[in-house]
Symmetry: C2
Subunit: 232 residues, 2 copies
Amino acid sequence: MPQANSQTRRERLEEREEAILSAARQAFVEHGFDGATMASIAQAAEVAEGTVYLYFKNKNALLDAVIDRFYQRLTEDAREGVQGIHGTFERLEFLARHHLERCLEELPILHLMISRHRWKPDYRSSHGYELNKTYVAIFDGVCRDGMAAGQLRDDVPLWVIRDQFYGTLDYATRTLVLRGRPGKELDLAAEGVVDILRRGLDPGQSERTEAETSKLENITRRLEKVAAKLQA
Amino acid sequence: MPQANSQTRRERLEEREEAILSAARQAFVEHGFDGATMASIAQAAEVAEGTVYLYFKNKNALLDAVIDRFYQRLTEDAREGVQGIHGTFERLEFLARHHLERCLEELPILHLMISRHRWKPDYRSSHGYELNKTYVAIFDGVCRDGMAAGQLRDDVPLWVIRDQFYGTLDYATRTLVLRGRPGKELDLAAEGVVDILRRGLDPGQSERTEAETSKLENITRRLEKVAAKLQA
DNA sequence: TGACTAGGTGAGGGCTAATCATTATAACTG
DNA sequence: CAGTTATAATGATTAGCCCTCACCTAGTCA
């Protein structure tokens, strides 16, 4: 049974890789990149120190892999969520809330990403850049649809809007943590971001109905969450 | 002549400190924090390695000192510039342009600041936090004046606006560099930021929807309480 | 002059990431 | 099943870093 054997063999390797990756993630989250040692990661993964280097080229590659995971889930969930929502600003508000929630949840990972990943001189040719590109492509798509539908000014470059959106959100994440009550003010932050965008990118005559239904739908979504809780 | 002697003595010390600080700045800018070695910094400053530690507690203290300088100049110039300008949005546009220009000029310092400084867990009790606070106080002042004069909505928390402003600018800085022509698009970015703010914070629009959503949110909150009770 | 002291030195300690010669294990073959 | 090869795993070792500390030097003062 060579098939079965090679299967288990492959599985063993994947399990090991998983163990190392998970140990690394844990170590990075707990002690930061510099604070985490390869020795402790190897020990937590129950392998020898040298073994880690069979699976990952070096410490940085470990970090890359951890961040890769973060982005994969972030992107997937964003894409999924957007699909189930109609209306430009409803989608934007979902994206804002989703980004804030996820970044707050995984704050240490966000720190690692920003501090070690995003400011490298060769960022643009890095894998991380591609990951980010894929992620923000969802936002870009929503905006382009909005522009095509006339709900969004199309005389502002998309990259300006994008920086406005994610720049604000990342700063807001930090502020929410610094202020010590991230949960309570999350809604305020997400709504604030989209609200300013809504007014700032209004293509002309204000469409009050649009704005109102948006907020109503927002509340509906929250009520649906409550309903889901009740079911569980 | 004890006066003259102690003077020259003091001057010697200050010169040395200056030499070390300047060498450190150079090294950090050229090779990054990890890439710069204390040995090379000491050599560039023409002192022994141990001497550096007579002037700065450790490598991190060196970085702090470098960043301190950056903030001092940034803040001073911002304050000066704002004083010579009247009108809320004119001032904001100056601040945006000033921030962008300075950050682009000193990009490596900005990287150091963001990656090593701002995301420390104890950031809020650090000197860097105070520096940042002093800097953004200028922006806050401009906004508060604008609100008092009725040129700015006062129903959006100041911290949301601040995050919007500086978050966007920092992201824009990165984008401008990535796009490779920071000079040409700097105006576009600065104007874009302020333009969206201008429209987004225009106090002219109605606030009736605001009151209505507030009521609805009240109801939502009550329903969530009910849900919590039911869960228990 | 001789003791005192602030300031300066650089070899060495302790810790780290990463390597590589060696060993162990699995897979294949006749 | 035994022998051979290929793959996987090991951990002592290496090179390089930050920082300390025992020692040194040169001014200052009694």
